[in-house]
Symmetry: D3
Subunit: 298 residues, 6 copies
């Protein structure tokens, strides 16, 4: 069960309203690397995790992320507080228009959300659960969590880099640091599973697990520990990259005769005959002086 | 520049068409952990990476993932090959209906995509770039890549667990193994950056980087290396979890007087008076015999 | 700040796993009328509401909805618990396939989410913030809240109607009833604003506020208090429904001469001449024996 | 059957093109509270409503909303008319770039939609049927309709507040007023159902219908008619908020032995051991001088 | 202005309710090739088209498509009519569950939409304006319209192929045929623009307009009128496919020195050193017995 | 199998970074008419096409479009190269804020994607497979391909019209021209199918294939080859537009008696009585002085 304490986890002090900065901050409210995504990623994992230690930690951190959501949302509301009342009460049309369209998405946020904090990213795209990559296998999910914390840390770093308001900067520093702490916890939990690589249960097939296929070739080909050294077999030859199973590289399915026949009917009906050169809509469209196969206007 | 060789990277041999299995396989064609997501994740990173070794590797692997996309897509097409011609040519209404609705999403895929391989997941949800978590910072992106490979490996493992067709199982084994190999390469590249933790450039604030907040309390609280030991300060006390900056835990913004006034007008106009008990729409709706504050129908 | 208590708000007792029922229950976990939508609707309103009483209530109820989210998510996890381990450990391919494809979306949820509770609706569509209709004006938002509670109540009612498991039915009854209680609170808060109709600040234009336009005509036209009686002027005449301002019903804009000229160039370049009958791609495509204006195959 | 009269429902007179204002207006063309959403909400309800009076009204109003869609779309087209021809005909690159990027989303709309009126909101997000909250139960749907009209009224009010063009302002006033009229009709239809509260058929459970849980506590706790008075039981005690059914607040499911065993295997394989402190990827990544449990860079 | 006549454009006679068939029919109600998509495609084009003849036709056909939307929606409602009342009134739990989960998405549609006709496709995915490809240039838009009519015709053909109910089949035949008629009108309008190829205003660059690049090579390479004959230059040589401008095939930008310096800092900070072989998280995760570069579990 | 050559298909030379122009260019990277959409449209068709010539061509062109995706993505990266390092390294807050918010979506792209090329359109909307209209029937799909090439050609034309950088303009000219060449190939393939109109297999019903319904009437009605001439029967009379099958224009379904009864219960429970005039929530909300049926505030 969730409970709420009316104090924020971190005090928010905004120097002056700034709707454009507000719209940037939304990145961590309703954006893909934001706090709702974090909270929901850990919450959905926590609900189904069978390991009591991890379950406890996941709900601890999910709850903290909800508290961060409240902090960043409060920052957004404070930054929008200048425009909010004026828009609602209709004080000054032309000034209003200028104020909310000075950059970014602030006009959308003002018009549609009335200067509140909406679950959209800084580009006004609504939050979607497609951002959540929980799949219910801890050896994968905890790698996802580590990566998610790393990404969130970077977005906060960038927000700090474009903010001059000291109170906002201060709160962002707290939020950024907590992502580091969470990453450390998730790392501990992952490496407390032994073994955790390869993730899941099935081992890889030995004949394919150590090959590196050099699929992109030309000036710029490089070697490094990711494709060189004892563990790697480096496959350069284009012929050996195709049909690596030794087969013919074709796709086939065994069909019943009724299936086969229906497919043949379909193929016959829709055949593009290679043996003649039809007049086409493009020929018609190129106009009378264009010749049969005009590539452009004369 | 991309080029194409008409042989598949792995030969596909399907024993018999099965539209339902086809719809499961779509998970790795147009699903969040699928091959298009993988290819696009690495391709977008490769385009902007400044490090020549990583750039090379990212395009190598992106290209391989496109080749995997072709393999899994060919599996889908072969599994759908029985229903395709019959639907197109209209051979047998009732039988057709039964065949495409035997389970899962196969009816959608047949109706809308004509038995082809569509960029949707196994639940028919269209692929979205919201699945791509590239953010342009290698110390975060490579953690994302490691996690993505881990997730893809698991989905292949689950697909193998529900497949009985030996040719499909065989190809899935190859695809699963390659995710392991890619994860290894990405791990090497990440750890070749020194240091890579915390990700990005800014260090954490020392006062918040080692704290663990026990936000979820009750029976089931656990300790482990993720919240216990030399590096962790464990914060249990609810009072110390709020307003950790030592402030009042409130959100505030300095407003200009016109802003303040507009907000006050807005607040006055929309005040919910706590001091009287209005008749409401629910009261009206509960009906004449229900009394003023009915909680349900009598 | 949010906190968490390890006990659920309501005890969950599932009689036997049932992945199909699990996928139905997701409607209230990650669906449009579900608990996350409710929690986020009230949370975003609460963050920016200027009225202390409403702000308190909104966060109270948002927090309760998060606790409901945990209850319904726990129901989903329990209903999926039979398939989860088997899928992860690979115990029995054919049986597994049958089990997860017995109906609905259970295969998607198993494959992609490993039998956890995902933020998708019962049709596997990811949750989106497009479900949230918060706009930051209490005289509108509280009507939205009343409506949202009414909808959620109905979905729970339907879930109860299709469930036979007594423990699940019991918990659903609790959740359904709380929507009724929340609706009552929101009604009280709305009607404590005086006046609250019309919503917002601007009055309607008297010449259009009492008209009812009978746009759909024919057998079935009906009158009732919604379009009949002292307050309504019923407009039946098609002529009086168009251009109700008394103008010509056209759209016009004053253009600068360069703008006008560019538009004229554009119009001239792309004119469809009404005065001749071109041969078309359809004519070509209908085949040699079809005549110029074939409507179908001969 | 729908028919069309070439005159608009309201004459549109735009003083001068303004692509930025055009992009704001899109909020009511392709936005969540816009005219397409309104038309489709009532149309889908009207198709399945069993009550002849409501069915008639729903189609009347749906048809009027389609006519409003045409009015607002015509406003958008007129406001874009200055940029449209110039972009199509390529008159003046640098000027063009400046003109379409002066603010907001106008560049997107020009580039992608050629200066037409697209079904996107003012932030360029495509319209989605996720905005439609029709659920097929009149006691809920008509509350949704009332709320939707209230929201639409507010968005028009805000658009009027940021518009200086008198012709646009005039048409917006008409559109805003009609939302008030529609709300009145929907209110009448709702309250003509007796009883209509609680919505749907099932009554609430008496033990939970009158409780108010004070989930958010601290300075700012308030009482009002929404949680105080004869009908309400106010639950303040955290202990009485959890497991309100009197159970243990845990989630459980009865599993078959094979299910149990598979889950145990899964748990054992993926256990995070709490009893030792592993070296982690973060430790490796923090660099040689960082010590085993670095919280940041030294 | 739109108006409505209470008679459908085509009479709908359903032999018996069938929720599964209803969910298939949704493909043309709320699916990508369905009637709403058609209506909105032509309506948005019609609003901004400068040509009076095309404008008239676009609104004629948009209006007819809305009338078709009503027909297909009515079919859905009739097919759902058996389940609707039972679900709402709660008559028979177990039977209800079986009935709505017999296949496809019918459970979602019943639960969430109460047996109405929702703006989703047959896979329950909400309609999105991303389906609309209007771009405001008639020489492109009319080709889109021709293609859209062709696709819609095919989906109706497939629906007819899976339907046994004679009344439904009959109405589908009407709807299918109208797509053919509309395609003919759009073809006429397109070819009445002279010239209409290439679409738009700018001619192609002669050096690239007639080349065909054989990018996919191997067994299965074919020639036909699409890449062979007088108009085509066939480019087979991989060397001549890259950097066709004769340059070095690299991407470059001229940077200011501050920009250059910042990029160099970034590159240095995040360099993956190719010259040493780090221990990685995968190495840690493979477990103590696995060796430094395990490719799988031993 | 796909392979990659490190040289681009066209050399990219950017004169100076310009994040705003970068965001415009994204239209053809991650937008609906962009290169990923093109590549995936042809790739999915190629995988399932039964005709060897078309299959070859589709994969040829899909591969070329992937190569174009790389070119346009490289343009985006080069245009963003000025802001990228500065944002990552934190060089200059205020300057940074100004630079990334000078217009359009550049702030989103910088913040969220770090100045890389993301799979979003110029309005920051993530790419979705809803853009792909492949349905698996060549007589429809090739019309879709022709239309898609036409649209892409226009977007490139518009991008050229707003670009002053000569290197970018040059590359855009190449990309635009290739769309013309592709359209020509697709036209040839379509018209090599005989017949190809009507698309698919079923002929239209003769009684409906040649009718043109004049649904939009009034000043502006026009005739042209699209609705006039030997092939067309022009239906003007509103009566003849409804119920064209000669029936009553109603929707009906034969119900079993239990179904009928449940529906009647539902209708009775939710009836809106037309015979009395209820007090409503709007009446309550309009305030004491407003009278029972206030249309606005007095």
């Amino acid at each position: 069960m969730f409970m709420h304490n009316k104090r924020l986890m971190y005090t928010v002090r905004v120097s002056e309203p700034n709707p454009m900065l507000a719209s940037l901050m939304l990145e961590q409210f309703g954006g893909p690397q934001g706090e709702l995504a974090a909270a929901m990623r850990y919450f959905t994992q926590g609900l189904s995790d069978e390991d009591p230690g991890r379950k406890d930690m996941l709900i601890d951190i999910a709850t903290e992320e909800l508290s961060h959501l409240e902090v960043i949302g409060s920052i957004v509301c404070m930054l929008n507080k200048g425009v909010k009342g004026k828009l609602a009460e209709g004080n000054g049309e032309a000034e209003m228009l200028a104020e909310i369209t000075q950059g970014g998405e602030s006009h959308t946020l003002s018009l549609l959300y009335g200067g509140g904090s909406a679950l959209v990213n800084s580009g006004a795209v609504p939050w979607t659960a497609a951002y959540i990559d929980t799949i219910g296998e801890p050896t994968a999910d905890f790698r996802s969590n580590i990566a998610a914390e790393a990404r969130a840390k970077i977005i906060y770093e960038r927000l700090i880099n474009v903010t001059t308001d000291p109170g906002v900067k201060d709160a962002l520093g707290f939020l950024m640091t907590r992502e580091i702490a969470h990453q450390k916890s998730f790392e501990k939990a992952l490496y407390s599973i032994e073994p955790n690589f390869p993730p899941g249960k099935k081992p890889g097939l030995p004949e394919f697990a150590d090959k590196y296929f050099n699929m992109s070739q030309g000036e710029g080909d490089m070697r490094g520990s990711w494709n060189e050294g004892g563990q790697w077999e480096y496959v350069d030859d284009r012929e050996q990259q195709a049909a690596v199973d030794g087969g013919d590289g074709q796709a086939s399915a065994k069909l019943k005769s009724a299936e086969k026949k229906a497919n043949e009917q379909f193929a016959a009906r829709t055949q593009s005959r290679p043996d003649f050169d039809p007049q086409t809509g493009a020929d018609l469209g190129a106009g009378p002086g264009a010749g049969k196969t005009s590539s452009g206007r004369k």
